[in-house]
């Protein structure tokens, strides 16, 4: 029985020592981890934003009718957040492709240079997380008017709206 208590105590001491050693060696790293965890989404948004904020604006959600009207009036630039392979299979006419992994490329795209130009981001469907992420990323980069078309490509193509391949 003494052995069990002694071993259990040893395990707790080793665990505490490991955490202390981990924190110590982390502080010596070139890029140390922060003490509080940040999700990949926050890290991505932080990397594209100019400030050091941790709370990011949410895009306005728009429905199909508003997206279609904006497209007809050429009132906004459509941004397709899907992967290039899906974009090439078909997309909303005049849309540009900007997957989440290439969000930093937005800084070099000429059509995105004007940050006051309204943007409408869409993805494949309502549950697609990439559209929301790209929209938040563009807001974090300083774009003033970014909306998210929640229905996305599935709804757009199902309604017989114009498509481009």
């Amino acid at each position: 029985m003494t052995r069990i208590f002694r071993d259990t105590g040893g395990v707790f001491v080793a665990f505490a020592a490991s955490c202390l050693l981990g924190i110590l060696t982390n502080s010596l790293r070139r890029a140390p981890l922060p003490m509080v965890y940040e999700s990949p989404e926050v890290r991505m948004l932080r990397s594209v934003s100019s400030g050091s904020q941790t709370i990011f604006r949410e895009p306005e959600i728009i429905k199909f009718q508003a997206a279609l009207q904006a497209w007809k009036d050429s009132a906004a630039l459509f941004v397709d957040a899907r992967e290039p392979a899906f974009f090439e299979e078909g997309h909303i006419p005049r849309a540009i492709n900007l997957p989440r992994g290439e969000i930093l490329r937005a800084k070099t795209i000429g059509t995105l240079a004007d940050k006051s130009r309204p943007l409408i981001v869409y993805c494949s469907e309502e549950d697609c997380e990439d559209g929301r992420l790209v929209a938040k990323g563009l807001l974090a980069m300083g774009h003033a008017h970014v909306a998210l078309y929640a229905g996305g490509w599935d709804e757009w193509s199902a309604t017989g709206s114009p498509v481009e391949k």
Binding site: G10, V11, Y37
Partner: protein
């Protein structure tokens, strides 16, 4: 000859568990961020615990893996390995119950050993089984494993 075989048989789980924890700990040390993302994927731990755990657990695994190979620390290290394995099993079981698709970076960036939730659960169960084998001899039959007893004592007992 039989005694030699028994000793070898007891060594196998110890060597296996030691190797697994040493490799896993060393690989995680190289990429603590991926491990932190792996811990967060289970959606159990509060944000302030994830990074300290991601920094500390790799060293704890290395302690456990190295300790199993040393005589004096063997039982405590085997207990630590059991504790870690139980935690892994519970984490994967809870992820399976909640329908989470967890790709744990349990071996850092070593993508060949990244596993889906189901595979991870089975792997954790196997790890627990081997850890229990490594611990069993130390706790259930401590008199046989005691370093104070000489080989001649053991031979005498068998005879």
């Amino acid at each position: 000859m039989v005694g030699h075989w028994l000793a070898c048989r007891k060594m196998i789980p110890r060597l296996l568990i030691s190797l697994v924890f040493l490799v896993a700990g060393a690989l995680k040390l190289g990429d603590p961020l991926a491990f932190a993302d792996g811990i967060a994927a289970f959606q159990i731990f509060p944000g302030w615990t994830i990074n300290p755990l991601a920094m500390g657990i790799p060293y704890f695994e290395i302690f456990a893996g190295a300790g199993i190979l040393c005589g004096r620390t063997r039982s405590a290290a085997a207990l630590a390995a059991c504790g870690l394995s139980v935690c892994f099993v519970l984490l994967y079981a809870s992820a399976l119950a909640r329908g989470l698709d967890v790709t744990c970076a349990c071996f850092g960036k070593w993508t060949l050993l990244q596993a889906s939730t189901r595979v991870g659960f089975v792997r954790a169960l196997v790890l627990l089984g081997i850890s229990v084998c490594a611990l069993r001899g130390r706790w259930l039959h401590p008199e046989r494993m005691s370093p104070e007893r000489s080989p001649s004592d053991l031979r005498g007992r068998r005879l």
